[in-house]
């Protein structure tokens, strides 16, 4: 819808108010209710205990609670959307959000607050589970990289989300009780809000991308039949990304009144994130080298991920650079950058993981041909949508406007066309996944010949995951000893 609006320079479909509300809801729903929970909630909850050989997470009831909280949070957001929408952008910058906006800020903030609790509880659950529930012999360095990535993600959720929560509470207080913590009229500082907000929201980007990286590590290894190159580097790079992610939030504030020196420090620190990210990409590539690669659907998504993530990451370096960032701030360059990371990265990872584990979760295979087709369509549609936006941004098209000078129209038309292709690409998997539930071929317990513990229990797994808790004797991804071998259970 957003793209259709931008088809023509002047925008006939919606008023600017509606457009403001649309992009806010797009941001809020996508970030807080899809990208952050998608991989941890769907794949993590299911496979994390399986992968480390536990019967369940440490706190199953808290897990259920966090699911309900997410739904309640979602209901608040939907309510806000139906009741009239919010127009602050997903960042809720003050003082606009506290003083001027007449829309449903409170309901939306409450929704995010509740969903944030859900996120915290999930992270807490994962950390405790990974520390205390591993099967005998499952040492830290025998854990699948998916688990490492989730561990890092959970750290961020636990340490970052509360800061967002308190920020939202303060916004809430400001709107309801008129106490003015960020109110410049009282001498308050809106930039303080931005600090608090980005302390969570920058690491939150890694909440979205890290689980996807974990999925990709699994896929690359399975479909090239090789152990991950530099296992411990990849494992530690996840944790390093999580830690460094907390040190760089100020790069969102370059054009605010943040001091010049803080800007330099944050710019400098931001470059460091590139190191663990690059370690991952290089190690994945090295894993592929001389592997016996098979191009199943999940692997196609993995390739898509690596390519798109690399582009997204490299453009991130432009943005980390103080000088260039000031030029492209709030343009489509930024929009394209984070969509490359979020959609090209996180969603590619999610879809890849969903295809990879679908047989395990449901006990059914999906139609391979259709799946490959849709992977291809998504990749093409994605690039067609977002690549023109880099150019638009560089040329100076600001984000969050529904009208633009006519010389940008060609690129906008391309982008909108790409979005429709992308939509088709997303609809195909929905159809064939539902179809496969009923008509798909019955899946064996290990259709891909993979090594993880999750493949040593029937598909779908029994209620307690394993008949007997397995004893782990090999490293993760040890194909030499485990292919075709029936693993002893102790």
């Amino acid at each position: 819808m957003i793209r259709i609006e931008l088809l023509t320079p002047n925008g006939h479909l919606f008023s600017s108010d509606t457009y403001n509300k649309l992009f806010t809801m797009h941001g809020v729903v996508m970030i807080f209710f899809f990208l952050i929970p998608s991989i941890p909630a769907v794949l993590g909850n299911f496979f994390l205990p399986l992968m480390i050989g536990a019967r369940d997470l440490a706190f199953p009831r808290i897990n259920l609670l966090s699911w309900y909280l997410l739904v309640i949070g979602g209901l608040f957001a939907i309510f806000a959307m139906l009741a009239g929408g919010v127009d602050t952008g997903w960042t809720f910058y003050t003082p606009y959000s506290t003083t001027y906006s007449n829309t449903w800020v409170i309901a939306t903030a409450l929704g995010i607050f509740v969903a944030g609790f859900s996120s915290i509880l999930t992270g807490l659950n994962f950390i405790v589970t990974i520390h205390r529930m591993r099967a005998p012999g499952m040492t830290w360095f025998r854990m699948p990289l998916f688990v490492w990535a989730h561990y890092a993600t959970s750290l961020i959720q636990v340490l970052g989300t509360p800061v967002l929560a308190v920020t939202l509470v303060l916004i809430f207080c400001e709107r309801v009780f008129h106490i003015g913590i960020f109110d410049p009229a009282l001498g308050g500082d809106p930039v303080l809000f931005q600090h608090l907000f980005w302390f969570y929201s920058h690491p939150a980007v890694y909440i979205m991308i890290l689980p996807a990286m974990g999925v990709i590590s699994e896929l690359i290894s399975v479909y090239s039949r090789k152990p991950i190159f530099g296992y411990s580097f990849v494992a530690f790079s996840s944790v390093a990304i999580a830690v460094l992610g907390f040190l760089v939030w100020g790069h969102h504030l370059f054009v605010s009144t943040q001091s010049f020196f803080a800007g330099m420090v944050f710019s400098f620190l931001s470059y460091f994130v590139a190191i663990p990210s690059a370690i991952k990409v290089f190690n994945w590539t090295a894993t592929l080298y001389k592997g016996s690669i098979s191009f199943e659907t999940p692997m196609l998504y993995a390739f898509g991920f690596i390519g798109l993530f690399t582009i997204g990451g490299l453009t991130g370096l432009f943005l980390a650079c103080l000088g260039i960032d000031v030029h492209v701030t709030d343009t489509y360059f930024v929009v394209a950058h984070f969509h490359y990371i979020m959609v090209g990265g996180a969603i590619m990872g999610y879809l890849g993981g969903l295809h990879y584990w679908w047989p395990k979760m449901t006990g059914r295979m999906y139609p391979e041909g259709w799946a490959k087709l849709s992977a291809l369509v998504i990749f093409l549609g994605f690039n067609l949508t977002f690549f023109p936006q880099f150019i638009l941004g560089y040329l100076g098209m600001p984000r969050r406007y529904h009208t633009y000078p006519s010389e940008f129209q060609v690129l906008h038309v391309l982008s909108t066309a790409g979005a429709s292709v992308l939509a088709v690409g997303y609809i195909i998997p929905v159809i064939y996944f539902i179809w496969s539930l009923r008509y798909g071929a019955v899946a064996s317990s290990n259709p891909w010949g993979a090594t993880g513990l999750e493949w040593r229990t029937p598909s779908p797994p029994p209620v307690q995951n394993f008949e007997k808790i397995p004893v782990v004797t090999h490293d993760a991804y040890d194909y030499s000893t485990t292919i075709g071998e029936v693993i002893e259970v102790g």
Binding site: D56, F59, V128, R132, V166, L170, H178, G187
Partner: protein
């Protein structure tokens, strides 16, 4: 092994192997939760630090207008309640039901005293027009700086308010624990919920230990 532990406590859930693992996991979970609480309050402490360093004089003035005796009294009350709480946990560790219930009851009572004093103090603020909003006025502060004084009281209400909310939750937990102890649900081997409630209670106490000097004791020597 698992079945022995099961017979022993009747409280071992199916995902665990031993009672010790279950206790360990629960305690760890609570600690991680407390860390999220640290970060939660941390956001407000940060806001406080930033504004206090920006407007030191007005903050000293505003802080001196709060009655220090209420704050000190409440600090002592909370410390007492932590003391009774730890004795309740000790009672539970030894399997003494009556001791546990008595000390939990004392903790609850002290918690309610704290909230009562707090409510009284807030009531005074309303009378003195120290509540942020259109009617706000703090004597002795020039008109141009009233806004900064209001910032102090915004923080005061946000921080003490959220702390009080945590106290209410804590009181609810203590009541639940009293009820469960009365029903004989805990033994010397299995008293993890009481232990965890204790952790939470002490944590809320710690938050107050920091709030007291930061809100009540800013440069008192300048104010009077």
């Amino acid at each position: 092994m698992a079945s022995e532990a099961h017979a022993e406590t009747l409280a071992l859930r199916e995902q665990f192997d031993t009672a010790a693992q279950q206790k360990d996991v629960a305690t760890l979970g609570m600690w991680i939760f407390l860390i999220t609480e640290v970060m939660f309050f941390g956001g407000m402490f940060l806001a406080y630090t930033v504004y206090r360093s920006s407007y030191p004089n007005v903050f000293a003035r505003a802080s001196s207008s709060i009655n220090v005796y209420y704050g000190a009294l409440n600090t002592v009350v909370l410390i007492c309640s932590s003391f009774t709480m730890v004795l309740a946990v000790r009672g539970a560790q030894l399997g003494k039901r009556i001791t546990t219930i008595v000390f939990l009851g004392l903790t609850l009572f002290l918690g309610l005293v704290f909230l009562g004093v707090k409510a009284f103090e807030w009531g005074e603020k309303f009378h003195e027009h120290h509540v942020p909003g259109p009617g706000f006025h703090l004597a002795g502060v020039p008109p141009g700086l009233q806004g900064q004084a209001q910032l102090f009281f915004s923080l005061y209400f946000a921080m003490t308010g959220l702390h009080a909310l945590h106290m209410v939750v804590g009181a609810g937990l203590v009541i639940t624990m009293m009820w469960l102890t009365y029903k004989g649900r805990f033994t010397a081997e299995y008293m993890t919920p009481i232990d965890i409630t204790g952790l939470y209670w002490h944590f809320v106490d710690i938050i107050w230990i920091f709030l007291f000097p930061l809100l009540y004791l800013v440069d008192r020597h300048m104010g009077k």
